[in-house]
């Protein structure tokens, strides 16, 4: 890999803003032919936005993109494809009911003349698909097989072949190993090395630092939408990379008030539901806020939904106040005082076309009903009370919830759960996508609730939030807890190291 070759892709001073969030500011990125270039950063650092700009999904607000030294501007993914840029996303974009060959040649299938009309040339398609796969040393795949019947690893190989059928010179891989088995990972690396020798440039996004060392040549780190540095991988250590990624500014938005920590309220023992909850044990005490850190897909929300009975456990036990309880449905969980504020308020937390009042009372309909009918007066009282308690800014409790701002919607969701008088409150990404002011209010509320003796589990992908709010931080990876830190011990470096590396586990 002679580094002196002129770059195939140069991005300079790229900035991109989405409504309230500055996703990228002044980011530069240079890619040479035949190199595997790792793109690293925490959740929300701007990696996805950057690759979406490269591949023509988004347009940069400012900055320049050049391919082979020529300035380009992509209006859509097709234009990027035409210039040899192919992307393999985490969720593969194949048609399960079509054959391997059809998927590879989707949109540019070989054709032949049949009298006056041009028709698909099936023979050519199958034989060329075969050739393409063989050029990647894949000889064990039937090109006539339906993609839906293939393993994830094989599907990914089809994606790669598809990219090459378009003569891709820049291949972007977004967490390609996230869903692969170890054997598939090794085959993927072989293919990556093969492509390298052919001069294909690869942008490699992964959260597994070990892979970066195994297969990448250079690494560029982003943090909070800013370019931090680009270095040869050989010139860095894992600790360097972690410290480049973290160090996000902790704004003083987290008015954490230390509450008196009491008896264990929730005890989880050897809870298992495959694949993402494996033998998990956890204790949360009254007044305690336990933060769950981990990468997307590490099993945090899955664990929450097992505890809440949405996807009940296969084995293991849950105790509330020392007593073993059976949690098979959310209804069971609620009866035992467990509440769950879900990750996505739009699809999981609220019925958007219903009123504030109706959303708040949804969890307690039965207890509001005297006889057949809901007691309207108690219902209104409850809604007024929660609106006041949460500080929901709404013209009235009769407002349609979908019309409120994100922060106020979230307060309604929390209010709806507090109406059940829970002992344990699980909050999944409680402040995602809400503005700074509302965020601070949610944090204040969490502190207050802990002060009243609630046991709180907070799942968050924002490290500063985890570190700012938690009395204890638990790190998940692959469906298990791999590290535990007290509030005093926890630092961004330690937590990120545990999240990303195999040997980051210190205490568990």
């Amino acid at each position: 890999m002679p580094p002196e070759q002129p770059p195939i892709l140069e991005m300079g001073h790229i900035s991109k803003r989405f409504a309230a969030t500055q996703a990228l500011s002044d980011v530069s990125f240079v890619l040479h032919p035949g190199e595997v270039h790792a793109l690293l950063g925490e959740n929300g650092a701007g990696k996805s936005t950057l690759i979406k700009i490269i591949s023509g999904v988004h347009k940069a607000d400012s900055g320049s993109i050049a391919i082979d030294g020529q300035p380009v501007s992509f209006n859509n993914p097709r234009e990027a494809q035409a210039r040899g840029i192919a992307t393999i996303y985490q969720e593969l974009s194949l048609y399960p009911d079509l054959t391997v060959a059809e998927n590879i040649f989707m949109g540019h299938a070989p054709r032949r003349k049949f009298g006056p009309v041009s028709v698909l040339d099936w023979d050519a398609m199958f034989s060329r698909a075969q050739e393409l796969l063989e050029s990647l040393n894949i000889t064990d795949m039937d090109v006539r097989r339906k993609v839906g019947t293939l393993t994830v690893g094989n599907r990914q190989r089809v994606e790669i072949a598809k990219a090459l059928s378009l003569n891709a010179r820049v291949l972007i891989m977004d967490e390609p190993t996230a869903a692969l088995t170890e054997a598939d990972v090794q085959r993927l690396f072989e293919i990556v090395r093969l492509l390298k020798t052919r001069g294909v440039a690869i942008v490699y996004i992964s959260h597994r630092l070990a892979e970066v060392y195994e297969v990448c040549d250079r690494v560029t780190v982003l943090r909070d939408g800013h370019y931090i540095d680009s270095k040869p991988v050989s010139a860095t250590t894992e600790a360097d990379l972690v410290s480049m990624m973290v160090g996000r500014t902790i704004d003083n938005l987290f008015p954490k008030i230390t509450a008196k920590i009491g008896q264990p309220v929730l005890e989880v023992r050897n809870l298992t539901r495959k694949p993402l909850t494996r033998d998990v044990s956890l204790t949360v005490r009254a007044g305690e806020i336990v933060g769950l850190a981990g990468l997307v897909g590490s099993g945090r929300s899955e664990l929450a939904q097992v505890i809440f009975g949405f996807t009940p456990a296969e084995s293991g036990e849950i105790r509330i106040d020392g007593k073993v309880v059976k949690v098979r449905t959310p209804g069971d969980a609620m009866r035992h005082g467990i509440a769950y504020v879900p990750e996505d308020r739009g699809t999981q937390g609220l019925v958007r076309q219903m009123r504030v009042r109706e959303n708040v009372s949804l969890t307690v309909l039965r207890s509001l009903a005297s006889g057949l009918f809901i007691n309207s007066q108690s219902e209104r009282q409850l809604a007024e009370e929660k609106v006041k308690e949460m500080g929901v800014k709404t013209p009235s409790i009769e407002q349609i919830v979908g019309k409120l701002s994100g922060g106020n919607q979230q307060k309604v969701v929390v209010g709806k759960w507090l109406a059940t008088h829970p002992r344990v409150l699980i909050m999944d990404e409680p402040t995602r996508g809400i503005d700074v002011g509302a965020k601070a209010e949610i944090h204040r509320l969490m502190s207050e609730l802990a002060g009243q003796g609630l046991a709180i589990i907070m799942i968050s992908s924002e490290l500063p939030e985890v570190l700012g709010m938690s009395d204890r931080v638990l790190v998940m990876r692959g469906g298990q807890f791999v590290a535990e830190y007290s509030r005093e011990e926890a630092t961004q470096e330690k937590v990120v190291t545990a999240m990303m590396t195999e040997h980051g586990s210190t205490a568990a």
């Binding site: 809440f308 019925v351 219903m354 969890t363 809901i374 308690e389």
Partner: protein, 344 residues
């Protein structure tokens, strides 16, 4: 629970009056009120053009003619609000009506020839509900299958023979209340289907609006996942909805059968579409979560009135279907616009 924020009296009052105004506006533009106005308008305009349209007999016929459809629409309203559909109602009405007539002519007590079809309807509803809720088959598929089974089965079992000579006291739908002469006003004899329609619609509307289960039906239809995460059992709600729907269909079947002197042992053509149309024109959102039984009943009355009006203003009744089609599209369009306005 926590420290209560001081209540600012002025602000509270302001927001209450704002909410009163917005509630009034919401009420005036609700589908129910709009439909009511359209019905009144129709009676006024057509009545002006042809006064015979407003004759007591004709008005009662308009309300009476579609009453069994309105009754079936009560169940359909719940089904659609829960984000399901039942396209087998027409066939089920045909089958249950035939059973009712057959029981009556074969010497079963009259009350049982009324009651058994209703209970059978509930049973069929439970079966549909089970397949939708527990076996997770989409309701459109379950009821499509059921539609075929019922239609085919009915012809096979009855050989298409008509049922006639039902006992005189069988004809529930032809019964009327006695004419009431109060001082200064005479209340005409009201046919029983109208009474059953109105009572059932109002009971269902109250139940849907004020009971815990009714609220849960709206929640499941509006956002099933959020409802499940709120501890509502989606399965139980879907079972309940289809059982109630089956009972309503049973009542509709009895009303249908007891208004006829000959039961033809066939399935009335396109009946399920009339029932679904009533619900949709009545403001029940096909996407679930929104609508009332009152709207559906008013829509059933409106459709009946349009059908009759066409005759009185000398327009070919063949236009009826087209007019209904236009109504469906207008309603769905306003529903979409309303949704777009209230939420992004």
């Amino acid at each position: 629970m926590t420290t209560a924020a001081p209540t600012v009296g002025g602000r509270t009052r302001l927001s209450q009056s704002q909410s009163l105004v917005s509630r009034l506006v919401g009420f005036a533009t609700s589908q129910e009120v709009v439909l009511l106005l359209v019905v009144v308008l129709l009676f006024t305009v057509v009545g002006n053009a042809n006064p015979r349209f407003l004759a007591e007999r004709n008005v009662l016929n308009i309300f009476n003619g579609n009453a069994y459809i309105a009754v079936a629409a009560v169940g359909m309203t719940m089904v659609i609000i829960s984000r399901n559909i039942d396209i087998s109602v027409g066939s089920l009405i045909g089958v249950l009506g035939t059973i009712s007539g057959a029981m009556a002519v074969n010497g079963y007590p009259i009350w049982s020839s009324w009651l058994v079809p209703i209970l059978l309807g509930g049973l069929v509803g439970a079966v549909i509900g089970f397949m939708v809720a527990y076996l997770r088959i989409p309701s459109i598929v379950v009821t499509l299958g059921l539609l075929s089974i019922l239609k085919g089965g009915l012809i096979t079992v009855t050989n298409g023979e008509w049922i006639t000579d039902m006992p005189a006291d069988y004809f529930l739908a032809q019964m009327r209340t006695p004419e009431l002469s109060l001082p200064g006003i005479t209340i005409p004899a009201i046919p029983s289907p109208i009474i059953i329609m109105v009572i059932l619609t109002l009971l269902a509307a109250l139940w849907m609006r004020y009971s815990a289960t009714g609220r849960a039906i709206y929640a499941v239809g509006g956002n099933a996942e959020a409802a499940r995460l709120s501890g509502i059992s989606e399965k139980r709600i879907i079972m309940t909805v289809f059982i109630i729907n089956g009972l309503c269909v049973g009542i509709a079947a009895v009303l249908w059968a007891t208004q006829l002197s000959i039961i033809q042992s066939t399935v009335p053509a396109g009946l399920e579409l009339q029932v679904i149309t009533s619900a949709v024109v009545g403001g029940v959102s096909i996407l679930g979560g929104i609508g009332t039984t009152v709207g559906a009943m008013l829509a059933a009355i409106l459709l009946s009135a349009i059908n009759s009006a066409l005759v009185f203003i000398n327009v070919s009744p063949y236009w009826f279907r087209s007019v209904v089609g236009v109504l469906i599209l207008i309603t769905v369009l306003t529903d979409m616009l309303r949704r777009r306005r209230t939420q992004i």
